[in-house]
């Protein structure tokens, strides 16, 4: 039961797609330098991924692997069009700021490969729950990255000036994104190993006390 729960809910903490799976990292590195960009990317990623995977789940499983991958990519490219049109209404500046990473979100490896490798092996309801939590996992990483990088690189939060003494301009650049994400991955793994150590200890203590 526990492993089943982990499979469903793991997308946020235990098996985060960015920090653990290292998928969809380019937008996090390049565009995750402000909270505004992060919010625009969260909207695009969440909408495109959810809709694309949902629609792709109706593709017949008996098709060859290559054909399925191409169909999934085409579906997400088609879903991208209305999502972008909606973004032009609600986030008009975002598309220009984010540039080529907006369309690249549509062909991210979560939609193209993970659907086949993970999601479509589950039941429909389990798939939806797992997918939602994976999307939440990406959103959380994107928010945290955008918040911290904007705070320390520009001294603002959502474009509002905050009193930060020393600014590190390099954090707003791609190399700053690489280093920041690398450190974040390391800290995430450290925390995850501490949690799993605690779990093992609790389990072994419980088994001893049962005796």
């Amino acid at each position: 039961m526990n492993s089943h729960r982990k499979n469903l809910l793991g997308g946020v903490l235990h098996d985060n797609i960015v920090l653990s799976g290292l998928m969809v990292i380019s937008p996090v590195i390049i565009c995750g330098d402000t909270l505004r960009n992060a919010l625009a990317l969260i909207y695009a990623f969440s909408a495109i991924t959810f809709l694309a995977v949902l629609i792709s789940s109706f593709v017949p499983k008996k098709l060859p692997y290559t054909a399925k991958i191409i169909i999934y990519a085409l579906i997400s490219a088609a879903v991208y069009i209305p999502v972008k049109l909606a973004a032009e209404e609600f986030y008009p500046d975002s598309i220009e700021r984010i540039g080529i990473y907006y369309p690249l979100l549509a062909v991210n490896s979560l939609i193209v490969f993970q659907t086949e490798a993970k999601f479509f092996k589950m039941k429909k309801l389990d798939m939806m729950i797992s997918l939602i939590f994976c999307i939440i996992g990406f959103d959380a990483v994107m928010l945290l990255t955008g918040f911290l990088r904007e705070l320390f690189a520009y001294g603002t939060i959502n474009s509002k000036i905050v009193d930060v003494n020393t600014l590190i301009n390099g954090l707003s650049e791609p190399f700053g994104g690489f280093i920041f994400l690398g450190l974040m991955c390391g800290v995430y793994r450290f925390i995850r190993s501490l949690i799993s150590k605690n779990d093992k200890q609790l389990r072994s203590e419980a088994s001893v006390s049962d005796k």
Partner: protein, 190 residues
């Protein structure tokens, strides 16, 4: 002397170091020499031929329908994907089993799609770049840039996966930091 400057320009425009495109794929490529050669060759093929096809699409697509660009790019990459698999299958079945994983990994990759969009963006800003030759050479340069970045990572691969690296940072986190520092040095040359 100007060759060195060209090399620095190539590094500065590198897909991975300045745009973080194809970072996950490069981690696979750096794992072994076989992976490096396989992935790098396939990515270069995709970016070069893909950019030629992208030129045809950009030339034919009216600006009112620019939202359909991604759909058409995805279609041409899909066609290339199938063609390449077919070509390798008929070229040698013994190679096919080994080689197909590189094609699967490289097809709908950020590096390939990102290259097409980057070339399109540059051509939109500078009309002199809107030529088939420019598109193909830009696509080829992107492939070479991927190879250079993969070589940079391969040189440090063993050290980054060593048991001396703290377990929390061993592997991908250390690789990200390593690429970040190299990218920082390239950025400071601009």
């Amino acid at each position: 002397m100007f060759l060195i400057n060209d090399l620095i320009t190539l590094l500065a425009a590198n897909l991975i170091l300045s745009q973080a495109l194809g970072t996950s794929t490069i981690f696979i490529a750096a794992g072994s020499r076989k992976n490096l050669v396989g992935t790098a060759c396939v990515i270069t093929l995709f970016t070069t031929i893909g950019s030629a096809a992208a030129y045809c699409i950009d030339a034919a697509l009216p600006s009112a329908l620019s939202d359909l660009r991604l759909l058409f790019y995805t279609l041409i990459i899909g066609i290339l994907y199938v063609l390449l698999l077919t070509a390798v299958y008929f070229a040698g079945r013994s190679y096919f089993e080994d080689f197909r994983k590189y094609i699967h990994v490289s097809a709908f990759n950020c590096a390939v799609m990102g290259t097409l969009f980057t070339i399109n963006k540059r051509a939109a800003m500078d009309s002199s770049l809107f030529e088939l030759g420019e598109y193909v050479s830009a696509g080829f340069e992107a492939g070479i840039g991927f190879i250079i970045a993969a070589l940079i990572l391969t040189a440090a691969y063993r050290k980054l996966n060593s048991s001396k690296v703290p377990s929390a940072f061993r592997g991908f986190p250390a690789m990200l930091v390593y690429l970040g520092i190299i990218s920082m040095a390239v950025y400071s040359l601009k």
